[in-house]
């Protein structure tokens, strides 16, 4: 009996760890697609050397932030306080992502158009004077800023999910693999970033962030979830159904108001 309980607890822990890795991977992939749009525009207009150096420096600075802040937070702040703060941050971030993804999926908000953003960046960067040889400051700075600013949100997700689950390593691996994968896909597909199902990925990440935020925020506040880590699946299903119903209702209301306008 105790053995079976221990085994199911172990399975729940492993599954929770996999969920953490997946959430970080998807969040990082979405942000990296957005950063890649800027890097590609900078690389093609200002030269690849500056664009790649700027991106590499940004990734190094972001990794240094995770390495410096992560262990310090674990040692300095009690776990219950950390979970309340982290849970709240995840809820804020997750509800922001989920809300925007629902509005976009139901047609109430325009989808992010990576091609249009890419074209705008290319036009803007082409207008700047180009130095004859060596490193191009504009290309370097724009790539650095693009990767750094998009990456800061990923750092926040890596730290919050990694620290609360006690799996900072898994979170870092999830983020690292997304950077590598998006980098390779970006290099191969170059300008076909509009093919990436960005909104569906954002919806998935939003759902997972809200789920983890509820779970850890609740634990930090003193809640004892039934089934421990297994409660994550119940919460994920609850929020998933809510999002599905919301998209359905909002899509229908938009169609109805569109039909009323045409008659």
């Amino acid at each position: 009996m105790a053995d079976r309980e221990g085994r199911s607890h172990g399975v729940a822990r492993v599954t929770a760890t996999v969920l953490v890795g997946l959430a970080v991977f998807a969040a990082c992939a979405v942000e990296m697609v957005e950063a890649l749009t800027i890097v590609l525009a900078a690389g093609l207009t200002r030269g690849w050397r500056s664009a790649l150096e700027g991106s590499a420096l940004a990734v190094l600075v972001l990794a240094a932030i995770v390495a410096a802040v992560g262990p310090a937070l674990i040692h300095l702040i009690p776990m219950s306080v950390l979970r309340v703060v982290v849970g709240s941050l995840l809820l804020v971030l997750g509800l922001q992502w989920l809300g925007k993804a629902i509005l976009r999926a139901s047609g109430h908000k325009a989808l992010r158009d990576e091609v249009a953003i890419y074209k705008r960046e290319v036009t803007r960067l082409s207008g700047l004077p180009l130095r004859g040889s060596g490193r191009d400051a504009a290309g370097f700075v724009i790539s650095f800023k693009g990767v750094f600013l998009e990456g800061l949100e990923v750092v926040m997700i890596v730290l919050t999910l990694g620290l609360s689950s006690g799996n900072l390593g898994v979170a870092v691996i999830g983020a690292g693999s997304a950077v590598v994968l998006v980098g390779i896909v970006g290099a191969v597909l170059a300008r076909q970033l509009s093919e990436v199902p960005e909104n569906s990925m954002k919806m998935g990440v939003g759902l997972m962030l809200v789920t983890f935020g509820t779970f850890w925020g609740g634990e930090g506040a003193g809640l004892q979830w039934p089934g421990a880590d297994l409660a994550l699946f119940g919460l994920l299903a609850l929020y998933g159904v809510t999002a599905w119903v919301a998209v359905g209702l909002l899509t229908r209301s938009r169609r109805q108001s569109g039909a009323a306008e045409t008659t």
Partner: protein, 70 residues
């Protein structure tokens, strides 16, 4: 002067990150966390239902605000 500028930038980053264009979410999460902590002390079982439902209510409220803004 430089430190002041750096602190202002740091503060602006966090403000944008947490509040941004959805202040109702930041405020709502703060209220839910505090209320959840209070309910968990007196009625822990009820809190397990109340907290997720409050989060769904906050999502709906934020969607309504987003629809009005769209």
């Amino acid at each position: 002067m430089r430190l002041g500028h750096w602190l202002a930038t740091f503060g602006r980053f966090w403000w944008e990150f947490i509040v941004g264009d959805t202040p109702e979410i930041a405020l709502g999460v703060a209220v839910i966390v505090i209320a959840g902590w209070l309910v968990a002390k007196s009625a822990p079982t009820a809190a397990l239902v109340v907290v997720p439902l409050a989060i769904i209510a906050l999502l709906v409220a934020s969607l309504r605000r987003g629809l009005n803004a769209a």
